[in-house]
Amino acid sequence: MIKTIVKKGAYFDSVTLMNLAKDLRKIQGVDDAAVVMATPENKSILKSSGLYDAETLAAASDNDLVIALKTKTNSGAETAAKKAEELLKPKSSSHDMGVFKSGQAGHSIRAFDSLEAALNAFQGANIALISVAGKYAGALALKCLYNNLNLMIFSDNVPLETEIQLKKTALKKGILAMGPDCGTAIINGTPLGFANSVRRGGIGIAAASGTGLQEVSCLLNNMGFGISQAIGTGSRDVKKEVGAVTMIQGLKALANDPDTLVIVIISKPPHPDVLKKIAGEIKKIKKPVVSVFLGGELKIPDKKNFYNVPTLEKAAMNAAVLCDAEKASAAKQNLYNAVSGIEKIAQKALENKTAKQKFIRGLFSGGTFASETQIILKDFISPVWSNAPIVDKWKLKNPLNLKGHSVVDLGADEFTQGRPHPMIDYSLRNSLIISESKKKEVSVILLDVVLGYGANMNPLDDILPAIKTAFKNNPGLSIITSVTGTETDPQVCSKVVQGLEKTGVIVMPSNAAACRLAGTIARGRRIISARDYEIILRGIKSH
């Protein structure tokens, strides 16, 4: 039976509601549950999941909350409904008398009812972090700009023309509009959105890729380097229509920033016109610049001190050398040692495999990792199928039906409708780890584990059960991953690495290194050839 409760005018953000639905599904007797705002989009999701009750929902609209429950019994429905009410109750109603009148805030407990109230009470506010549903983000961001607030817009699904309007307005006012769809930034040492705890230092980053920014900043941190500023532009900034407004603004800001010694640009391949614009800007910069356009390339012949590299790992390595060559040499040595270890690891892995075990299945929560993986694997094996392929003809028809060597971006839109991002909610990937492990042809499951603020806070608890099952299903299986994180991240990188290694997972120091190991195993030779070495070393050699 379906039980539907509509609460008029009760708004909650989607993350809260998705977590709530997850809790409700755990209740015995509840087959399925959805807790959503009654927008037209959510109504169609309810329809497709068989939770739609036309009679109750006809009059419900955007500002109404819907709790839809599928249960076997009436009492199950009652229990779940009661639980939902309980979970929706505000946690505390503590008052901060200090904000009744305009004055100072900053650490106040009380949530403000509006931007105006917050501005009034919080003097000197200089940036707004916006993570509301995309359709509301535009008008809100515009209001922030009129109040001279810099912006980081985490929200996605903001209309492209709104993004253009916002960025033009910001540019005119000389303030920064990071996003929409900007997942990560580190400003003045403060991680914003999904970001890691990295030390401050001389390397500035401008990135149209959140995961790329996280990987490069973590690799640098773990080599002993630091970040001056890391500016996220939002994924669509390098589209033709937007014209890299924020990227160029960011490059100018980093070029003028006295604390920034080296600049790193990270992006998926921009539109050719936009790439030209970026090149033009790079030419003006006197500081060393490293760029990585995953799957794309940029040549600026007469530009000194400019390095275009293929992978995130190499971008980090180059930036480190440019920043402080002496300090970077130790890190380089470590990487060399790790590479020479690959042969042994690969050999050992191959000993346990059957003749049929040939293929890599990459299951990624970070879209940029899915790209980087394909770029690296193409030197070892081909074709590599994907839902986000670097070669169009290698597109997976059904992103959940994997074949041959496949790499899937689980953060793609088709997977995130109505569920949290795979960096937070591992459930979809866990079920894929288990189902892929049952396939006889699968040799390597390649993963990423992204730590930091905003990501899953208990990664081991959530992923290890699936990994244990996978090893049970397929004793010859290799599971390889990198862990994007730092020691000062809330999850503590080394703890996560140890936990994974104890369970039998091979943890490599970067996604690129993990890919090279996977590629070596997939080639299936018991002895690594001289060519393999060359390929591996090419990946880490600096200039």
């Binding site: 708004y11 955007d62 109603s93 109230a117 922030c144 914003l192 800001a253 809330p490």
Partner: protein, 464 residues
């Protein structure tokens, strides 16, 4: 980039977990609880952003006029003699326009009572027949410079208070409050109801009229300012204001009444009715808002009123046009023996008090009635604080002690209502949905969104 050399101070809007990160990193931040805007076209929200400098200027002017209002109770008379456009066969009612077929039970009951009172009918059947015959005309009080609580019925012979806004010179009219229980405004029309109305016409009215004349006018603004310091919000609680009014008129009544028995009966009537002042609080509010009824570019709401079927609003920048939507059923505490099943949808012109920054907007002033809003004094504070989000300013003539004497939130700004998705909060009485039964409870209600959405779209079209 200036930002790089400043201390980062973040306003977080949306996911609360992002603020937790900031707190852990010792970064100063404020969290804004996001509420989606009302359901209007997104491009309208972007368009209006470009117009707000214009609307804010117009609203400032409107608010200034509202704050300078000085409503004084100057006189009384029969409705037919003073209300503009009043006729023998015209019945004024609460809320936006409504025809007999669409009238709710309590309003029909009150119309029936008025037709009996006027001598046009002897009983319910005759009155109903007459009401739908086309011989009787109906019009909103608000379209005749008048206001009426609940059904808000005013017929030709009823005596009305005359309130003059001394600053702008406009007049507003309101009937005398009948008290609680079985009363006309809740749709009761039995013999005792008509009898009381007759007494109010024949005894109460002449005595009060003489007393008001003798006292040289009663300053209503000053009474309300004091009442807010004494636990009233002058909509659901009028005990302090009624007492202050009593103090103002009692000596004059004693001096001017024909005999002490008459004086005593009038004073007893006022004394027994904690809501006697309500109609005056409404008239004051209407008198204050009337002068801003039509200011170019202003998004100030000038009327909120319900007829028991629909909830209607008017906005300064769109002038006399009504914007309506179905009236909601209030959340209420019910008298013994009644429940939400019995409740009629929201009714009455009394939401004019909220439109003027009183009532639900000033509920923080009225700890005695917080059981309507959750039972804690802090709940009442929350409601008032939220209303500051949707008003153009604060009316310092009316202050709230528990908020360090901050002025009440005044001048509802339609644009803020829509953008912030916060609807005006109204204190209200609840009528039984059947005619003739009367009041069944009291409570609170949020205005419905539909009238605000319609008004917003209309205003945007005018502005852009």
């Amino acid at each position: 980039m200036k930002l790089f050399s400043e201390e980062l101070k973040v306003i977080n809007i949306g996911l609360e977990s992002f603020r937790e990160t900031l707190k852990k990193n010792d970064v100063k931040s404020a969290h804004v609880k996001f509420r989606p805007p009302l359901h209007v076209k997104p491009q309208f929200l972007l368009k209006i952003r470009e117009m707000v400098s214009k609307t804010e200027k117009a609203n400032k002017k409107a608010l200034d006029i509202i704050m300078k209002a000085r409503p004084v109770l100057t006189d009384m008379d029969k409705a037919i003699n003073v209300i503009p456009g009043m006729k023998k066969n015209l019945i004024l009612h609460a809320g936006p326009p409504v025809v007999w077929d669409k009238m709710c039970g309590p309003m029909r009951g009150a119309v029936i009572g008025a037709l009996i009172l006027e001598g046009f009918a002897r009983n319910e059947k005759e009155a109903s027949g007459l009401a739908c015959s086309g011989k009787i005309e109906f019009a909103p009080c608000h379209e005749h410079n008048a206001v009426g609580p609940m059904a808000g019925i005013i017929s030709a012979s009823m005596p009305v208070f005359i309130v003059k806004n001394e600053t702008s010179g406009n007049f507003v009219y309101a009937t005398q409050n009948e008290g609680l229980g079985k009363v006309l405004r809740y749709g009761a029309f039995s013999g005792e109801v008509i009898e009381r109305l007759k007494w109010m016409e024949n005894v109460l009215y002449p005595v009060l009229r003489k007393a008001i004349e003798f006292s040289g006018g009663i300053d209503l603004k000053s009474i309300i300012a004091q009442a807010l310091h004494m636990g009233d919000e002058v909509h659901n609680r009028n005990r302090a204001a009624t007492s202050l009014f009593y103090r103002a008129v009692a000596p004059a009544i004693v001096r001017t009444a024909q005999d002490s028995g008459t004086a005593a009966s009038v004073l007893e009537f006022i004394n027994k009715n904690d809501h006697f002042f309500l109609n005056l609080s409404m008239a004051l509010s209407k008198a204050s808002l009337e002068p801003v009824g039509n200011i170019k570019n202003s998004s100030i709401v000038t009327v909120m009123a319900r007829n028991g079927t629909e909830f209607g609003i008017k906005v300064s920048g769109t002038g006399s046009k009504w914007f309506t939507g179905p009236a909601p059923v209030p959340d209420a505490l019910f008298f013994a023996g009644f429940s939400k099943e019995d409740a009629n949808p929201d009714i009455g012109d009394s939401a004019i008090t909220e439109t003027n920054g009183l009532g639900g907007f000033a509920i923080a002033s009225s700890p005695a009635i917080v059981q309507f809003v959750g039972g804690k004094a802090s709940d009442a504070l929350e409601y008032t604080l939220k209303m500051y989000e949707i008003t153009a300013g604060e009316n310092n003539a009316y202050q709230i002690p528990s908020l360090d004497f901050r002025g009440v939130p005044a001048g509802i700004d339609l644009i803020k209502v829509v953008e912030k998705g916060i609807l005006p909060f109204i204190d209200t009485g609840v009528a039984h949905k059947k005619p003739g039964i009367g009041q069944v409870g009291a409570g609170v209600v949020s205005a419905p969104s539909e009238p605000f959405v319609k008004a917003f779209e209309s205003l945007v079209k005018i502005l852009c």
